[in-house]
């Protein structure tokens, strides 16, 4: 092999190979004079983006508002039978669902239903259809949720499986054939290539699906010139609007009376894409502009909006499989059997528990992990806003093993 033609690294300043190996794990320096307190959390800077979170917080809370009747309580049900030889066992998933709900509420399934729903409710099941068949919300979990609702007198036509994009639901198998009698609804459509997303008036055909009176506002953050989009047309195709407003879907604001959140179990960089992100980025449009400047903060502030805060009664995170790296898109080499479902009325406590477990898994698999507080600051923000519990010392995790 030829000798590389880089300038040699001076031994007096940078270490050569032999010296580097010698200094690994070198003895302590004279540090006794240093004060070793914990540094401050990532402090807010003066140039934080202004949003309309204040308006959300002024709205009086409804009777089912976050964090729900069990703040800080998380139940994890583990059953190895749920995933055997790569096949999901729907019966095991159903058992786990029942165990989790009853353990969370302390009541039987019928009583639990009455705690959260009436027979007149219109219940939205927010799934994550990304990455089928490996890392999306399992249809078997959705079956269990539907059977619980249906079995307690909620008409199937009052149940809506939903996500942001209609085609993603189809690709993941959430179809009328698979779920007869249940509504399947995407907030919007998107045309990967072509102009079918445009109506006769030149605007997005999905505009009418969004509520102009219900929005998440971020001052100065527009969907124009966002990296990764050719031009305004390309952005609008995916995001419907490109101004400073992300409008909530009318399904969420006008039709649904309750929401059951069914996210997947996966990472996104050193954070997670689970309970709060499933709704934070899945309930509204024009989110491409938010990723870079606000990323995780959206997950808390959108859930503070009354259309989510007052309707989200239960989250069941689908951890039958997990993905510990390469997320949020599917990367099969990082998918692993986790055999778990996680239950909470408090999505922030749930995400904190799942974040901790994801970090441990990543470390166990040899992934280099950055545990900087910036990856969980949004959960602590939620606690400050009294939307949930994020302090691990205050979270009560109950683990049930089949």
């Amino acid at each position: 092999m030829k000798t590389p033609k880089y300038a040699s690294l001076p031994d007096t300043t940078l270490l050569n190979r032999r010296d580097f190996v010698k200094t690994l794990g070198a003895g302590a320096a004279a540090l006794s004079g240093l004060m070793l307190g914990r540094p401050e959390l990532h402090a807010a800077t003066g140039d934080e983006v202004v949003t309309n979170i204040g308006d959300f917080m002024k709205t009086p809370k409804g009777p089912h508002a976050l964090p729900g009747p069990f703040p800080g309580k998380v139940v994890q049900v583990i059953d190895p039978q749920s995933l055997l030889n790569d096949a999901i066992d729907g019966r095991a998933v159903r058992r786990m669902f029942e165990q989790g709900v009853t353990s969370l509420t302390g009541k039987n399934m019928k009583q639990s239903f009455r705690m959260f729903f009436t027979k007149e409710d219109v219940v939205g099941l927010k799934v994550n259809p990304v990455g089928p068949p490996l890392i999306n919300t399992r249809p078997e979990l959705v079956d269990a949720a539907i059977d619980w609702l249906d079995g307690n007198g909620l008409p199937r036509k009052n149940i809506v499986i939903w996500d942001r994009f209609d085609y993603m639901l189809r690709d993941a198998g959430f179809t009328a054939e698979r779920f007869p009698g249940v509504a399947i609804e995407g907030l919007q459509t998107m045309d990967e290539k072509g102009n079918s997303w445009k109506g006769a008036d030149g605007r997005h055909v999905s505009i009418g699906n969004f509520d102009m009176d219900a929005f998440y506002y971020a001052k100065g953050i527009e969907g124009k010139g966002v990296r990764g989009y050719t031009d305004d047309e390309n952005y609008l195709n995916q995001h419907v609007f490109n101004n400073e407003y992300s409008y909530f879907g009318r399904l969420v604001t006008k039709k649904l009376t309750k929401i059951v959140n069914l996210p997947a179990f996966k990472n996104t960089g050193n954070g997670i894409s689970m309970a709060t992100k499933n709704l934070g980025y899945g309930s509204l449009c024009n989110t491409g502009r938010l990723q870079a400047p606000l990323v995780f903060r959206v997950c808390t502030e959108v859930l503070a909006a009354p259309w989510i805060r007052d309707k989200l009664v239960l989250t069941v995170t689908d951890g039958i499989r997990g993905q510990y790296d390469g997320g949020p898109d599917v990367n099969a080499q990082f998918v692993y059997p986790n055999h778990s479902l996680y239950f909470a009325t408090d999505p922030f406590a749930l995400d904190m528990i799942c974040q901790q477990q994801m970090v441990e898994k990543r470390k166990a698999m040899g992934v280099k992990v950055n545990e900087h507080p910036r990856f969980t600051d949004y959960l602590r923000l939620a606690e400050k806003l009294e939307l949930g519990i994020a302090d691990p010392a205050k979270i009560r995790l109950t683990t049930l093993r089949a």
Binding site: V21, T23, L24, P39, G228, D329, Q333
Partner: protein
Amino acid sequence: MKKILSAGLLLLFLAPLVRADDTPLLPPSNLAKGWVRSRPAKVFTSSDLYGYIDGGAEIFLEYGFERLTVQQYVSGKTGEITLEIYRMTDPVAAQGIYLMKCGEEHRDSSFAEIHTLSKYQMLVRRASFLLNLTNRDGDARAVPVMLAFCRYITGKLGPNGDLRILDLLPREGMVSHSLRIFRGPYSLQSYNPLSDKNIFLLNKSVAAVGAEYRAGPGEPETLIRIPYPDTLAADRAFRYARSQVDTSVRILTQSDESFAFRDYRNRFGLLRRAREIIEIRANLSALPAEEGAR
């Protein structure tokens, strides 16, 4: 005659500006018996990659991405393989993405290229290209098909390209699967305790390499090296980095060419500039003796 010559010269001038088309790389239907293309190929450029992989697009854009060509193949009622051909800007970009996504490699002894393979997915790096194949249902019978597709494509690609940047790091003591190439703050996220911003001014021309090293019990230490085009560029990056460290980082000692720091976990680190190279050592349990004595 003049007109023909002029047209020819014009074409020669414009040729590099005409987009490369990667669809000729796509295996034809029935290359593997019974596997056929199910729909026309889709092509995404750097301008519209978010339309395909949304949350996963940022890392590709950071490394240097030119084009993605996607083709789906089906066999019978259930077999489905999605083939993605990522044309990156250069071999460093392609290898950078590959190292981020491959995890612990599982290689097939019959396939000589840089790759990892499972029954659900195959990832290959050759030249400036990254191939990603997803076998939707994980049927093991589709694995030879994925291999056949990759052999077909890599047979049409050029040599692997210059990756001498990797020689900047010592191999002895390196934790396996920890080697990385970085081209921006997103790829650096797990390795850089100093900031989540691009404080080292990485770009398409300036990449960094990093890895973890273990010499005993306890956490491995991190080593990152960044070769700049010249001393001036390295010095500019050094001064910028020193001025932009995160508020959770405390600079303990500093000079014109180095500074020692303590991060949010009370782990120590050292950043030094030597001519055109910046070196960062991080996640140290203690500072090297000569730094602690300053």
